[in-house]
Symmetry: C2
Subunit: 156 residues, 2 copies
């Protein structure tokens, strides 16, 4: 019982043979695998709150005080505007966020978290924090900071 392992993801056993493949040296492959593992974990931990990483991301940005428009959410999350519609619809129906037409530009709608949304976000953030701890369990604090910085520089 070395790991609490709320979410079980089988580590590759007997695949050491493949670890030497040139593919494993490619950033593209490594980010894809890290993301697959990470999102599976995070989704599992968010499931009890009826959230997925997507809806969590929207909720988080909505509650951040930045008051993003849907267009901005789409650009920032690299999603199609139509997907943002669906995500905001879901959150709004649950009373977690609200749409406000921007008085400056009545075409765009600004998304803001409600009090209920902020309460749920607090729990959700704890869940993703836990997922992150699981993911980076092998890394020291400085290594985590390094990884964060390097990722930030290739993610924007």
């Amino acid at each position: 019982m070395t790991q609490p392992s709320t979410t079980e993801i089988p580590p590759p056993e007997g695949l050491e043979r493949l670890l030497g493949s040139p593919l494993v040296a490619e950033i593209e492959f490594l980010t894809a695998r890290a993301r697959a593992l990470g999102s599976a974990r995070a989704n599992a931990l968010l499931a009890p709150l009826d959230l997925k990483i997507r809806s969590y991301a929207v909720l988080s940005l909505a509650c951040s005080g930045a008051a993003p428009s849907q267009r901005e959410l789409a650009e920032f999350l690299l999603l199609d505007p139509s997907q943002i519609v669906a995500l905001v619809d879901g959150l709004e129906q649950r009373g977690l966020v609200k749409r406000e037409t921007d008085p400056q530009d009545r075409r765009s709608k600004v998304i803001k978290g409600t009090a209920k949304g902020r309460r749920l976000l607090a729990q959700a953030a704890a869940a993703t924090q836990q997922a992150e701890d699981q993911a980076m369990g092998n890394l020291t604090a400085t290594e985590r900071a390094q990884l964060r910085d390097l990722l930030r520089r290739i993610a924007f």
Copy 2:
């Protein structure tokens, strides 16, 4: 013309407001965004060769000399076995890989790259290398190595 930018992905402008959000500090979000940008770039560069990152990964492992079975490919690439079937079907029909029933265990089929497959892989690897250079353009050689190592440690 600071970037050749074969693939155009709009950088977030005017979204500095969102960069301060707590979400941006989360590894989960950063890997998701890095992976979205990276796979879009890689897919665009692989498109002329009629490959996607998925089929490229299978081709690469098939040509690596490791002679993986389909089950091993599924586990290593974190894909459902049925998806491996489809991927190998596509590559096999193009004469890029072949299935060989393992004499040790006639249930499992070992995937090996053909000469034609290895030729295409050479071009494909150049393409993903180019994608990687685009992705990590801002990083020094040591930073790239650091990122690779850190990713490897959270990706397995």
